[in-house]
């Protein structure tokens, strides 16, 4: 693990290393302006890290909820560049938690790797998560990440087996543990064997270990927090937001909708 001796912005901004709540929202869903406000609402709701999704035409790792959110965002013309440009707006309104940009690799390639990391840095984005880049394909990204002081978030899955140690040992920022095989989305039951998997991951990792994929109830949140350092919640939050779609789009109705979003999220994670 070749960690920089200088603290990254991610580490600086992360207020704690336990009991983390990491929500996922999709840039531009339901509108760019709403996304900025939603980021602040999530911070107010107790979010420790914000995972900001970039919509993609072919989101291989995502279930229907996030696919549909991406579809809506794409229809509004959202893209990687505009997604990045949302973050300074969030910061100027008071967002202090670390922001992880979540994007598939193809838009990154088109954007240009160096340009991307430079822009991440310049736009106060602290980390990058590319769901279709496994460890073996991440060399180039890692080099840029190191150069620009951006954390590259890794994923580890129950079937990563021999690779769990390798992935966990080189993880930076936090380590994203996939709770079960499959794509993102709500699940009624979470895998039984998750505790031993998480034990193993934690034993190798020097950064917080958060669990994602399928967490959608307060009960699941509490269960997962027992075994890990935090929870990542995506599809459930997208659903909550989509419940107030029209109000969030409307500038006048937005404040009251944000309140209701906050209330639902607090109930989910408290």
């Amino acid at each position: 693990m070749s960690k920089s001796t200088v603290q990254t912005s991610f580490e600086q901004r992360l207020q704690k290393e336990k009991d983390l709540f990491i929500p996922f929202i999709m840039s531009g869903d339901p509108s760019p302006a709403a996304t900025v406000e939603l980021a602040l609402t999530l911070q107010e709701s107790g979010a420790d890290i914000l995972e900001l999704g970039v919509p993609y035409s072919d989101p291989l790792a995502d279930g229907p909820t996030i696919q549909e959110a991406a579809g809506r965002a794409l229809q509004h013309g959202m893209n990687l560049k505009e997604s990045i440009e949302l973050v300074p707006k969030m910061r100027s309104k008071g967002l202090e938690i670390p922001v992880v940009l979540f994007t598939y690799y193809n838009p990154v390639l088109q954007y240009g790797l160096e340009q991307l990391f430079q822009d991440l840095r310049e736009h106060d984005i602290d980390a990058l998560l590319v769901p279709d880049i496994p460890l073996e394909e991440s060399v180039e990204l890692k080099e840029y990440a190191h150069e620009f002081g951006v954390e590259l978030i890794s994923l580890v899955a129950p079937n990563s087996e021999a690779r769990i140690r390798k992935i966990a040992e080189q993880a930076t920022g936090f380590l994203y543990c996939v709770s079960s095989l499959g794509v993102t989305g709500e699940r009624k039951e979470l895998s039984q064997d998750i505790s031993s998997f998480l034990e193993k991951v934690k034993s190798y990792s020097s950064v917080p270990v958060a669990v994602g994929f399928g967490i959608s109830t307060n009960e699941q949140v509490h269960l997962m927090k027992q075994y890990s350092d935090g929870v990542i919640i995506g599809s459930k939050i997208i659903k909550v937001i989509n419940g107030y779609h029209d109000e969030l789009v409307s500038e006048s109705a937005r404040p009251s909708a944000l309140k209701k979003v906050k209330q639902e999220i607090v109930e989910l994670v408290q």
Partner: protein, 388 residues
């Protein structure tokens, strides 16, 4: 798992384990003479290989120029080269102890091939197919069901092949423990492009034997159509080290200067699709765009990574042919040789017909007739009757 800078495994972490399992099983299988024998036995006893090698005498005379030979993949069981690969992979799945296969399909050809081999080997099969394609290809849907496959409608994205592939991958991510994903072309993450090529190279291997038996020398040029590119790579691969010009032909749809085409190499750029680095059709933001071709089998926004490499290294020349040119070639082959080719294959034919006139009578070319045209009759009937 690379072809130059192309290929790789750009997949969610969860797929790394099943890909590794396949890679290791494949290597062991390919070194096991009993596996190789079972594969070739099935090709012979079940699929009808070796497929014929036809001298197109009427056509050669009509066009003038080089002698034209046709490799007859249309004579395979289920009507195209698809079965070579489906059989190989299903045998591998069975060897790996998987009792369920999944597959994606566009027009239904690979779906039918997968359902076919699943039936023959006693495996369960699920075929992912876009809702729009299900609507357009009801007969193939019925055919798959008749073969015992479960056809799973895909409603995401544009509801066509690309989305069916995404959905098949998603399903596989969640069910990789007992499911084998049988990809239909030389696309996807390593080891698929290599594996599919190795199961399709029988086309080129046979062709080499057949042309040597026929004329004692290799052909001057070989033509094959390219969508994902499995028939082309299967044909080209055994000739890569030879002095034979290889020509891959993409679908130019309504023209490469219109938005409606599928000419990935001609008009695409580097990127990632379905787990592999290759050429693809995308917008400036890296969103994959929907391709168009009259041919459902060439209507794919990517291309196999080995083709990207063969293009970059200039070993293979890639050209493109419009819908109209392909339709003309289809009609000419039907009328002159009594072979109605798949509209996919007609793209290769069209390019060859353009070029053969400038060649000498002592030269020869081979065109891969990757499939038969029966499946396209409705489409062609509608188009030709509209034009009347």
């Amino acid at each position: 798992g690379r072809f130059g800078e192309y290929g790789g495994q750009f997949v969610p972490e969860t797929l790394m384990a099943p890909l590794k399992e396949i890679d290791e099983s494949l290597q062991a299988a390919m070194e096991d003479p009993s596996f190789i024998e079972a594969y070739h036995q099935a090709l012979k006893d079940y699929s009808g290989r070796p497929t014929s090698f036809t001298y197109a005498d009427q056509l050669s005379e009509y066009l003038g120029g080089a002698k034209i030979y046709l490799k007859r993949e249309d004579l395979n069981h289920t009507g195209a080269h698809k079965l070579n690969n489906a059989l190989g992979q299903a045998l591998l799945a069975k060897r790996m102890g998987k009792e369920k296969i999944i597959a994606e399909t566009g027009a239904g050809q690979h779906g039918v091939a997968s359902a076919t081999v699943a039936a023959k080997l006693g495996l369960e099969s699920k075929v992912f197919m876009g809702e729009k394609d299900i609507e357009r290809q009801q007969l193939n849907v019925f055919r798959m069901k008749l073969l015992g496959a479960e056809v799973i409608p895909v409603s995401s994205g544009n509801k066509t092949l690309k989305d069916a592939t995404n959905e098949a991958i998603r399903f596989w991510v969640a069910n990789c423990e007992d499911h084998y994903y049988l990809i239909g072309s030389v696309v996807g993450p390593h080891p698929y492009p290599k594996m599919v090529r190795d199961f399709q190279r029988v086309i080129g291997d046979e062709t080499k034997d057949q042309i040597l038996a026929e004329q004692g020398s290799l052909p001057n040029r070989i033509y094959a159509c390219v969508g994902g590119g499995s028939n082309a790579i299967g044909m080209f691969y055994p000739f890569l080290e030879d002095e034979v010009e290889l020509v891959g032909v993409e679908a130019a749809g309504k023209g490469v200067d219109t938005p409606e085409h599928a000419a990935t190499i001609t008009k695409g750029s580097d990127g990632i699709i379905h787990g592999s680095k290759t050429y693809l059709m995308q917008d400036e933001h890296g969103q994959i765009t929907e391709p168009y071709s009259i041919s459902a089998g060439l209507d794919y926004p990517g291309i196999g990574p080995e083709h990207a490499y063969l293009h970059a290294s200039k070993r293979v020349r890639y050209e493109s042919v419009t819908d109209d040119e392909a339709l003309d070639a289809l009609q000419l082959l039907s009328r002159k040789e009594g072979i109605i080719p798949a509209i996919e294959s007609a793209h290769a034919l069209a390019q060859a017909f353009k070029e053969v006139k400038d060649m000498d009578a002592n030269q020869s070319i081979v065109i891969n007739v990757s499939g038969r045209g029966d499946k396209d009759m409705s489409t062609i009937m509608n188009v030709l009757q509209e034009g009347e």
